[in-house]
């Protein structure tokens, strides 16, 4: 339990610190750095408390469920490998915090900085103590995100933003490959638990998916660890504040890839594919990084390329799949962390004090800043692999291993190339120290400002350099037990005996090492000439290529996207129709069956054929004369008429009534709209387009017509309608089965339907209420009728007739409403009839005059209609029945006789009110819209 709490605290501490810092965003710098440093120190203490079990083989371990179905558990464990990395992350983290406290200026956003730093620390720590590979992935991607924030900390600088984006793209992208690889790994191994996976190395390597999985995982590792050809992001990440560079590029971020290679060593390593790939990539990276580093001028850039080179070496060592090589890698990880962090900090101090990082402008700084010079020079010597520093030991171990592997069948290739890499390492390391601190100052300006910083700033690099030195002097004391335990953890076997020392006698490694030092010295002495040679060679700039690729991709994709996604309704509909046609054809071809069924047809009489001809002709006329809009509208009315007739003849009186009344309202609506639209706009479709559309239209028509034919010529099976027919009267209290379905069996549909109408009314109101304002209002006021008007507004005969038509039609509406339950009619039709009655009134006598006399508001009709319909449903609930359960009974009164009362009538009243309100609202709003716009403008003018 104590272990569990320790592990949990360890994992959460950095995040808690990040949160706390973010919360105290406005507090002084010291608070931020204090929290960060305190958290790091506390983490170190916790880690120290775990040292004994972790290194002793009794791995502290804890597991909680998170997403069991995924295999993603919160498993934390600190094995030697994790412990060592944790030490680096927290230790160097603490030093970075101390350094950054002095490095950052007071006016900078230290809250954001330290919060991001702690977030990063937490993510990094998570990677190394995760005991579940999916959990590891979580932290892995989190480091990419946190580093994005850190690299982009100076967001006002273009290079910072670019560098951050590039780092995110490369490492985050690699992380995605890693996700694929890790999931595959888990699926192959049958578990996502790290320890379980590590125990199943043979099984994994035997899987046919091993190469794919390996490729994906290596992609993740290589991108993170800046291996060729993904190395280019790293130098550009130097746009970050120096403490960030220290942290990310000495001990943490870039080491994550190396860590993962080490972590998965028992599962991945050992195959030829693995060995060749990893070794080659590491070797190439090492050479490339070392070479480029020699010719950079920015201090941090030099260090960045050196980091690439050193990472290449580590990757190469792990690629060997040999225990001794792994040991060398482990040791070098420690060395590199120490000297590289010290060097980055030194570079930061130099920049901080001189205002530049350009090595060409600096020189002779040893006089002005002796402490810094001492620190940096010692660290550079370790980097160069000079004795008696730590770097020497690990480099020699590396060179010792190189002959054991024959690349491309050539046993000498690896030693030679590795030595070459070492030579360049020596050269750039020496250059860093020599050009910076020795000689005379090259420019006066920076030199004049230069002086050693306060101890607070150099303490951290000093400590690190001391470590780097001690790692060379007393390796057995300082490193051997740790290296032994970690190597055991890496290889998954017993910890090996470790013999670390500066002197192993004269062997090949020593010779190669000497050669490298000598060669490095030569290279440095010829540096000026080599530099001019280098600068003349035009080498591909990976970053530039990355940017160009991205830019090109963006341009191409954007172009394609814009081309295909222009907001074209024609295209949308074309796509829709084409897809539907395809699907219908697919269904028809693969589904089987016959077109014509066996149901006998109903012989049609002459008027049926005539009406059919009318419909066909009218449809053709609409299509052919659609640009003559009024005429097209007349033809549409004809179609509506024929459809109504069809319903009337084919035993659907309710449908006929509905269609007829809807038709009338639709015509009114269209005419109202048409008034403000062009009446005969020019035709703009090309002939080609028309032909294409016609082809699609015909195919679509034939298909739907064919389906209708197939359907109509088949006998229906048993239908639920039999129940409706049988129960309409006894159960629903009405003889008009259609109406009983509407207000009882499927009243819920009807409720939805009236709400649709109500919403349409509201939407139309919302649309038109603002028509008088803005561009629309201006256009309406400027609108001139495009056809001559008769001056007479209200024809006398029409007005006089409307006075009697209104009451007569209302009576018909009431009649249709009351009888709807038993005969054709009902609330909806009645509402339309009543609406038509009022519309005739509006037509004849004008809107204002008629509307002023109307005792109801359309909004209220809609609102109350829905409420009444709802109340009918809820009433049933109050009586203990389901929503919308109907009730009816027969009563009898003297004189009047027997009559029926039914809850369905109340529901129908709701339908009536809503429909009336919606229809009236739509048409009333649309009418005299131009007049209203003018009136609104007048009022607006008159108001101020």
């Amino acid at each position: 339990m104590a272990i569990a709490m320790t592990l949990l605290t360890l994992a959460l501490l950095p995040f808690a610190a990040a949160l706390a810092i973010a919360q105290l965003h406005g507090a002084p710098r010291a608070v931020h750095s204090g929290i960060a440093g305190g958290a790091s120190a506390a983490g170190l203490a916790l880690l120290a408390s775990l040292a004994a079990p972790a290194l002793g083989g009794d791995v502290p371990f804890v597991r909680w469920d998170w997403v069991p179905s995924l295999g993603l558990d919160l498993t934390l464990m600190v094995d030697p490998l994790g412990w060592m990395f944790g030490l680096l992350i927290l230790g160097i983290g603490l030093l970075v915090v101390i350094f950054a406290h002095s490095y950052l200026y007071e006016n900078e956003d230290t809250g954001r900085f330290f919060a991001s730093l702690m977030l990063f620390q937490g993510a990094m720590l998570g990677i190394v103590i995760a005991g579940n590979v999916l959990l590891l992935l979580v932290f892995w991607e989190l480091t990419s995100l946190a580093s994005f924030l850190l690299i982009g900390f100076w967001q006002h600088k273009a290079e910072a933003r670019q560098g951050a984006r590039m780092a995110l793209a490369v490492t985050g992208g690699g992380g995605l490959a890693l996700i694929g690889g890790m999931v595959l790994l888990g699926l192959i191994a049958g578990s996502f638990d790290l320890q379980a996976i590590l125990a199943r190395g043979d099984m994994v390597r035997a899987s046919p998916l091993y190469p794919l999985m390996l490729g994906l995982i290596l992609l993740g590792c290589f991108t993170k660890s800046a291996q060729f050809p993904f190395h280019f992001w790293l130098p550009h990440a130097m746009a970050a504040p120096t403490p960030v560079s220290v942290y990310l590029h000495s001990a943490t971020m870039v080491k994550a890839g190396v860590f993962l290679l080490a972590r998965l060593w028992p599962v991945l390593a050992g195959t030829e594919l693995y060995t060749v790939t990893v070794t080659t990539v590491g070797l190439v990276t090492m050479l490339l990084g070392a070479t480029v580093a020699l010719f950079r001028h920015d201090l941090k850039s030099i260090l960045a390329y050196s980091t690439i080179s050193q990472l290449g070496m580590l990757v190469m060592l792990l690629g060997f799949s040999l225990e001794a090589a792994a040991l060398a890698a482990v040791l070098h990880i420690l060395n590199h962390a120490a000297f590289k962090a010290a060097l980055f900090m030194s570079a930061g101090i130099v920049e901080h004090e001189t205002g530049t990082r350009d090595i060409r402008r600096l020189g002779g700084l040893a006089k002005a800043m002796p402490v810094t010079a001492g620190i940096a020079t010692l660290a550079a010597a370790s980097m160069a692999g000079l004795p008696p520093f730590g770097g020497f030991i690990s480099k020699e171990l590396m060179l010792y291993q190189t002959p054991k592997l024959a690349l491309a069948g050539l046993p000498w290739l690896l030693p030679v190339l590795a030595t070459l890499g070492a030579t360049f390492s020596v050269a750039y390391s020496l250059r860093f120290a020599a050009h910076l601190f020795a000689g005379r100052p090259r420019e006066a300006g920076p030199f004049a400002r230069a002086h050693d910083p306060s101890p607070a700033m150099w303490a951290a690099p000093a400590l690190l350099t001391t470590l780097a030195v001690l790692l060379g002097l007393v390796p057995m004391l300082l490193a051997a037990p740790l290296v032994s335990a970690v190597t055991g953890a890496v290889t998954g076997s017993a910890p090996p005996e470790v013999e670390l020392g500066l002197w192993h006698g004269v062997n090949l490694a020593l010779i190669l090492s000497m050669l490298a030092v000598a060669g490095g010295a030569v290279l440095l002495s010829r540096h000026a000439g080599l530099l001019s040679l280098w600068e003349r060679a035009s080498l591909p700039d990976a970053k530039r290529m990355f940017e160009i690729t991205l830019r090109l991709a963006d341009a191409r994709v954007r172009k394609a996207l814009v081309a295909t996604h222009t907001p074209s309704l024609q295209r949308m509909l074309l796509a829709s129709f084409a897809i539907m046609i395809l699907l219908v054809i697919d269904g028809a071809l693969t589904g089987g069956g016959v077109l014509t069924g066996t149901r006998p047809g109903l012989p049609a009489n002459l008027p049926a054929v005539a009406a059919w001809a009318l419909l066909i002709a009218a449809t053709l006329a609409v299509v052919l004369e659609s640009h003559n809009r009024l005429r097209a509208l007349v033809y549409v009315s004809v179609i509506g008429l024929v459809v109504s007739l069809a319903f009337a003849v084919l035993s659907a009186p309710d449908l006929a009534l509905t269609q007829i009344s809807v038709e009338a309202v639709t015509v009114l609506l269209m005419l109202l709209a048409l008034n403000l639209l062009p009446k005969k706009p020019p035709v703009i479709s090309s002939r080609m387009r028309k032909t294409r559309d016609a082809a699609i239209a015909i195919v679509g028509g034939v298909l739907v017509g064919g389906i209708a034919w197939a359907m109509l010529t088949r006998d229906p099976g048993p239908s639920i309608a039999a129940f409706h027919l049988a129960n309409a009267k006894p159960g629903g209290g009405g003889t008009n089965v259609v109406n009983v379905i509407l207000v009882d069996f499927r009243a819920y549909d009807t409720l939805g339907e009236i709400i649709v109408l109500g919403i349409a009314g509201l939407g139309i109101f919302a649309l038109l209420e603002t028509a008088g304002t803005g561009a629309s209002g201006a256009r309406l006021r400027a609108w001139r009728a495009d056809m001559p008007h008769s001056p007479e507004r209200h024809p006398m005969m029409l007005v006089a007739a409307s006075r009697i038509i209104l009451p007569l039609t209302l009576a018909v509406g009431i009649y249709l409403f009351l009888r709807g339950h038993n005969q054709p009619g009902g609330g909806f039709i009645a509402a339309l009839v009543v609406a038509i009655a009022f519309l005739v009134q509006y037509l004849a006598a004008g809107f204002d005059w008629s509307d002023a006399r109307k005792p109801f508001g359309e909004h209220n009709l809609i609102g109350w209609g829905v409420l009444v319909a709802m109340a009918t449903g809820l009433g049933a609930m109050a009586l203990g029945s389901p929503f919308l359960t109907s009730w009816f009974d027969y009563f009898s009164l003297p004189l009047i006789g027997k009559f029926e009362l039914a809850s369905a009538m109340l529901f129908d009243t709701g339908v009536f009110l809503t429909v009336l309100g919606a229809v009236m609202l739509a048409l009333a709003q649309l009418s005299h819209v131009a007049t209203r716009a003018a009136r609104a403008a007048e009022e607006a003018e008159g108001a101020p």
Binding site: S790, P795, L798, V799, L808, D848, W849
Partner: protein, 144 residues
Amino acid sequence: MSGPASFAELLAAALIVLGAGFALVGSWGLVRLPSLMERLHGPTKASTLGMGAMLVASVVWFQLGEGEWTTHELLISVFLFVTAPISANMIAKVHLHRLRTGEASGGASEPAGPAGSPAPPPGSADWATHEAPHQGTPGDFAGD
């Protein structure tokens, strides 16, 4: 078939033939008469005697054939009688309007029939279609 039924049948049949005949004649008039104002006379037949006869046939048939009184068919006639003149009036107004504006603009948006264009009424006022009615004139109770 029994006696009354066959009488009803005969009566209904006669009325149907009469009604449908007038409807046909009306539509035939629509086709053959020379201009809009003449054609406007056609539908009046269909909507008055044509419909009337068929509706009476329906009343007769349901009463004598099926034994139930159905009177509501007559209501259709009432509606037709109220609305048909208004429809005709409105179409005629459109004709007059288009005739006048066509003449004014020189183009023939509506051909005049054999009767030509109507002369303006005696006095100062024009036909209502061409002139906004003055205060106190019939159609003016409403509106404005």
